[in-house]
Amino acid sequence: MKSYLNAVKAVIWKDLTAEWRTRENLTAMLVFALLTVLIFNFALELDIQAQESLSAGILWVTFVFAGTIGLNRSMASEKDRGCLDGLLLAPVDRSVIYFGKVIGNMIFMLLVELIILPIYSFLFTVPVFQPGFLLVVFLGSFGYVAVGTLLATMVIQVRTRDILLPILLFPLTLPVVIAAVKASQGFLEFLPVAEVSTWLNLLIVYDLIFIAVAFMVFDYVVEE
């Protein structure tokens, strides 16, 4: 178990070190997320009512698209110079690669969200800094990254992977996006937790199911 965790930590360390040096992935995600929030803000500027009812949806559209960019680039770095083969040759359970990549991608996603949320809060005048809302952001992002990392690995060998990933990912993550939007909207409107709990439970169950599925199938996904 200790060597398993050490190997997961090694994959995370490798991703963070390489990203710290280039900042390519984070910059691309951040610029895209910023532009999306700004464009939506200007598009809906004159319609305050529409802004209020759509703000949670806008936030998740931003996270989902920025996240897709990050997932694509994260796996592309493994494809270059045959690095994925290097990982597959290590005498460790191959789920190590999956969990290492999921945690690495999640850290990038959370960093982008950490910067976007205050800007979003300012532009749309919504109270995002409440524990319930932040929990939804975490659970929704985790579900998206968990499925996204698995699919990004699946399409890594395909030439059209940049297009194929969103085509496969968006339908599969629809439940998590719907639940995240509904739960976020509930918290932004200060609804009682009981009214939001169904969506929160759905997010938790979705996250658990997909982590378990990925753990079971990852070995087959990376098989030639």
């Binding site: 060597s3 994959v11 490798k14 390489a18 770095s77 083969d85 597959l88 040759l89 290590a90 005498p91």
Partner: protein, 236 residues
């Protein structure tokens, strides 16, 4: 027997790449796998490296069966391909540290390996600033980091100039002298004959010839190779 392959078949869709291939390699042998493009050399190496699964046949590496005991086989293997399997945005030292952590190896071995491949002075430089020859040397360092008993090399000289190729040869000889079993695919007959203790010619998914050092040193190497390939052309 360090590597044992019996009636190995590998298909990619309708195309059969390896056709009931048999091969045995003893401990300490340096086998060069020769053959034209599409002969199945890389496919065979990828199966031995646990990166691909056979459709049928029996494969054992270091007495472990494949694909069932792949994790144990990976402990015994070092693999070098024509791609370096290294991260360009990490330094040489960081690359070895990363693989070292995956293999549970300490930093003392890292220093030793960097010295062996002659890259101690450049250990803090990013790998993407390295020449192709230096990347291949570091790739060998990565492959021998965990002191594997078997080294699989897939066209390691691809893209190297004469000088870089010679440095790589020196490193390979040193690695082989440590008693490792080495299997290398190559298109360079002269270099393969210089390094290897046995030449195996593969064509159309089957072994066409297996030549000991005495055999290929006493005859005309090119003729022997052509005979093996032409002989194989006639076989179904």
């Amino acid at each position: 027997m360090m590597i044992s392959v019996k009636k190995l078949v590998k298909r990619f869709g309708p195309i059969t790449v390896l056709r009931e291939l048999d091969l045995e390699v003893e401990q300490g042998e340096f086998v060069a796998l020769l053959g034209p493009n599409g002969a199945g050399k890389t496919t065979l190496l990828r199966i031995l490296a646990t990166l691909s699964k056979p459709n049928s046949g029996q494969v054992s590496v270091a007495s472990f069966r494949l694909p069932d005991q792949a994790v144990y086989v990976r402990e015994q293997l070092g693999v070098v391909s024509h791609l370096p399997l290294l991260y360009g945005d990490l330094t040489a030292d960081e690359n070895l540290a990363f693989y070292g952590r995956l293999y549970g190896i300490g930093s003392a071995r890292q220093e030793q390996v960097l010295g062996l491949v002659g890259l101690s002075a450049r250990k803090d430089d990013l790998v993407r600033t390295f020449s192709r020859g230096m990347q291949q040397r570091l790739a060998i360092g990565r492959a021998i980091l965990h002191s594997p008993r078997i080294l699989l090399l897939d066209e390691p000289h691809t893209g190297l100039d004469q000088e870089a190729g010679e440095i790589l040869d020196r490193v390979l000889r040193e690695v082989a002298l440590e008693g490792r079993t080495v299997m290398m695919t190559s298109h360079d007959l002269i270099r393969a004959a210089d390094l290897a203790t046995r030449l195996v010619v593969l064509s159309k998914g089957k072994i066409r010839a297996s030549l000991s050092k005495e055999q290929f040193q006493s005859g005309d190497l090119v003729s022997l190779y052509r005979e093996a390939i032409v002989g194989g052309e006639g076989l179904k």
